[in-house]
């Protein structure tokens, strides 16, 4: 089929372009401005070229927070994706259990980020928090405000609690969209439960899982509020992930230039990882 050439159609894109310009491109340009210049206020700027970028790329502090960030993201993906699929598989397929499970599952997703952080902070306090107190009563030496391992454990547990539901809901939707005939055919073909999972359910869930992994990657890679409220990045810098470190640099130390350069690098890492991941998944799709 031949498409009609009509350049006037571009006019329809203008409203969206203007909106995006105001809420994304223009603010981003300010950051770009700061990233290449030095300022001492009063709107006086001096050109610095790529100096801030070099500084950030060579800074050990950035390497450390980037490393922590990747570690955190990989751990939560590694836990949340399989756990989410497992929960989705055990959820009821009909009856009153369906809405009950769906509502229960959605609950953590509806709680504001900072409330989640505050809840877990209190919940995990070693002296009065239910989790912290119980762990200590059971003989574990648990104190998330002072011990690095405990801080990581609590942050990861909080994120798993907050976000696994998203993976569950997406996986559940993927599972429900599989036609019953597939299960019937597998039953007739004598397939084991494991074969049904790997040969039917997983391939059919591929698309929703791609979305789930992408969303969870982006969200966890940009995580800020929850660990900020829970641990404030501590003890020391142990849970200072990229965005926490960035805010410290920009607002704590008021190093606007390096902070701007860091946010651009940060932004490109997210973009790059998403692009690579998406392209890989889609190329696979085309092959089949």
């Amino acid at each position: 089929m031949n498409k009609t050439v009509n350049q006037k159609a571009w006019f329809f894109v203008i409203p969206v372009f203007v909106l995006v310009a105001f809420n994304a491109i223009i603010p981003l340009m300010t950051v770009v401005n700061y990233a290449f210049q030095e300022t001492f206020g009063n709107n006086v700027f001096m050109w610095e070229g790529t100096r801030w970028f070099k500084q950030i790329m060579l800074s050990e502090r950035f390497h450390a927070s980037l490393g922590r960030q990747f570690l955190f993201t990989f751990i939560i993906l590694f836990i949340q994706i399989p756990l989410g699929i497992a929960i989705a598989l055990t959820m009821p397929k009909e009856g009153i259990g369906v809405p009950v499970c769906l509502v229960l599952m959605s609950m953590p997703l509806l709680i504001p980020w900072n409330v989640v952080g505050a809840m877990w902070n209190i919940f995990a306090l070693p002296d009065i928090g239910f989790l912290g107190h119980s762990l200590n009563a059971l003989g574990f030496d648990y104190n998330f405000t002072q011990q690095i391992g405990d801080a990581w454990f609590t942050t990861i547990l909080m994120d798993v609690w907050h976000w696994t539901s998203l993976v569950v809901l997406l996986s559940y939707a993927g599972l429900r969209s599989i036609q019953p005939a597939y299960y019937q055919a597998a039953e007739i073909d004598g397939a084991s439960r494991w074969a049904i999972f790997t040969k039917i359910e997983l391939p059919k869930m591929k698309k929703v899982l791609t979305i789930a992994i992408l969303l969870r990657f982006m969200d966890s890679f940009m995580i800020y509020t929850e660990p900020f409220v829970l641990t404030g990045g501590g003890p020391g810098n142990a849970t200072a992930f990229l965005s926490i470190d960035l805010v410290k640099m920009a607002l704590g130390q008021f190093d606007l230039g390096p902070a701007a350069a860091m946010s651009l690098i940060y932004f490109f890492i997210v973009l790059l990882v998403c692009w690579v991941f998406y392209t890989l998944m889609m190329r696979n799709e085309e092959k089949s």
Partner: protein, 354 residues
Amino acid sequence: MAKVTLKGLSHSYLKTQSSDSDWAIRGVDIDWNDGGAYALLGPSGCGKTTLLNIISGLITPTKGDILFDDKVISGLSPVERNIAQIFQFPVIYDTMTVYDNLAFPLRNRNIPEEEIKAKVQEIAEMLELSSTLNNRASGLTADGKQKISLGRGLVRSDVNAIMFDEPLTVIDPHLKWILRSKLKELHQKINRTMIYVTHDQTEALTFADQVVVMHEGQIVQTGTPVDLFEKPKHTFVGYFIGSPGMNVLPCQIKGNDVIVNGKKIETHQQIKKSNFNKTEVGVRPEFISFSNEGIPVKVLSVSNTGRHKIVDTESETGKIKIIAKSNEDIPSGSAFLKFKKEYTYTYGDSWIIE
């Protein structure tokens, strides 16, 4: 391979049943011989898929028994029944190659890889899939995929029966014909009991030796395509099979006489009893001709299909369709119709009077 027998089978999807309409299937008795080709024909919602799923073991019937070779197998799982089923739309394992798809049912039964290879190649040959054996199954067209589903049913040489649940629904019309002939050919080659569910009379009549017509959960007639056409036992069979379907007109029975529109007509049967709520006469459009006397009608319209003419007429008690030769002269305005006696039947409460 096995003989399939259904005894007093009834099924309801509801927990409690109060009226006939609560049953998806009511009192079905069937005897299907080993190696036969059978079709279950009926409109959507008549219970034919339910019946098929009961035979394959995907649904447990509320009442009644299923027997393979005179052994009751009602409690067995689909695997234990050892049947194959092909569904309405192609069911394939996306991530596997065509070869692995065909080998899957055999691998699940721990058959040695050597034997699998031979069997898969034989089936692929039969279905003309040999050249695509190493391709990913998900890349195939709809008919290619349906051939794979079919192949998975055929690879196991010991299956008791192969069941088809409207397998050609998603196939393009010109490929439908090819696949249908393929099925018929396969049946002759491997000689296994095949049960074919469809709502398409052409599919049923060309595929099967015996057609079972279902209506509202009951079997209304079992017979060869010719039986169904020439002697419908129920008015439903009359108008469901044939194009256009049988003409059904209300009639009165007085003693041994059958009266339609005030005219006495001759029918195939001798009428012995007449205590029905509703009596009707049925005659196919193929067996009606114009005459100088008989049932008076008004000719409404004539449509020429090329092979023949379909004439719509109106009598006092309803419309009558007639199929006439394409070169025949059709009277206009008023005319008289004559029914062929040997193909004119009387029905009491929709069932043929015998």
